[in-house]
């Protein structure tokens, strides 16, 4: 299926994401990261944080307020992750309520090695606190490889 360039520039509605202690703990356990900042609230407070801290890749769990992939044909057998960036303005902690918006910033195709095409979609996400301050930016490229 050809890349859908009509989605470029489209943004989702903001989605509410409440950062929870249990979700942080389970995420850190799944990675195998034993950093006390992710598990021990008293310790995190003693280090100057308001509660347990989210691991660096935790914002992958933030969900926008509408489907960022609408109009993009996602075939799980062809889906690859091309690149991923996170930029943090401050530590993300349990108790934060963040509003996440995702925007399609590019869509293009490249010739594949087997005569087909590979479709690329680039998304940029912004997660803001209740005062509108950006807390985290994320950028990712997904690739739909040749069928």
């Amino acid at each position: 299926m050809a890349v859908n360039k009509n989605v470029i520039g489209r943004a989702t509605l903001p989605g509410r994401n409440e950062v929870e202690k249990g979700a942080i703990r389970k995420f850190a356990e799944a990675i195998g990261d034993t950093n006390r900042l992710y598990f021990d609230e008293e310790f995190a407070r003693s280090q100057g944080y308001k509660s347990v801290v989210a691991p660096p890749t935790f914002p992958v769990t933030f969900i926008p307020g509408s489907n960022p992939r609408e109009g993009i044909d996602i075939d799980y057998q062809r889906l690859l992750h091309g690149d991923q960036t996170f930029v943090y303005e401050r530590a993300i902690c349990a108790g934060d309520v963040l509003w996440t918006t995702s925007r399609v910033v590019d869509a293009f195709e490249k010739a594949g090695k087997r005569g087909g095409s590979m479709d690329f979609y680039v998304f940029e996400d912004e997660s803001r606190d209740g005062d509108g301050n950006v807390v985290c930016r994320a950028r990712r490229t997904i690739i739909l490889r040749e069928a």
Partner: protein
């Protein structure tokens, strides 16, 4: 705040090998992250996609690499991390992570380091390649 002692441009982050990454961990990560692509836990589905075994989530590889960085910088949150996904890790394989200090600077008086970072699979392929910015105060 003072720069961590003996930290110089060119310093290597001692490579760390994590794993083997087993299917239980993939299922756990699927649940914790919300990425339920069956390619990570359904072997038949992975085979139909052309892979002999289930693939480790790219974001799990990146999470493991990030944990090696935070272990190195005194467990402090990162300022940024960026990775390109260049190859895959199969279920049952391990991941070796490392990096290097490329430059030193400061933001509002806090010493920071820019790092190049990488992860390889046991077949010698580079799985992740990227950069990160971290606090390096003592």
């Amino acid at each position: 705040m003072a720069l961590r002692q003996n930290l110089v441009v060119g310093a290597e982050i001692q490579p760390v090998t994590i794993g083997p990454i087993q299917k239980t961990q993939l299922v756990r990560y699927a649940g914790a992250s919300g990425d339920f692509n069956p390619i990570h836990f359904d072997e038949e589905f992975a085979r139909r996609a052309g892979y002999e075994k289930n693939l480790v989530h790219g974001m799990l590889n990146m999470g493991i690499l990030a944990s090696v960085l935070t272990d190195w910088n005194g467990k402090k949150p990162l300022r940024s991390i960026q990775c390109r996904f260049k190859s895959v890790v199969f279920q049952g394989e391990s991941l070796t992570c490392g990096g290097r200090v490329e430059s030193l600077g400061d933001v509002n008086g806090v010493p920071i380091a820019s790092l190049s970072i990488w992860a390889k699979n046991p077949r010698g392929e580079t799985v992740l390649e990227g950069s990160a910015t971290v606090d390096v105060d003592s």
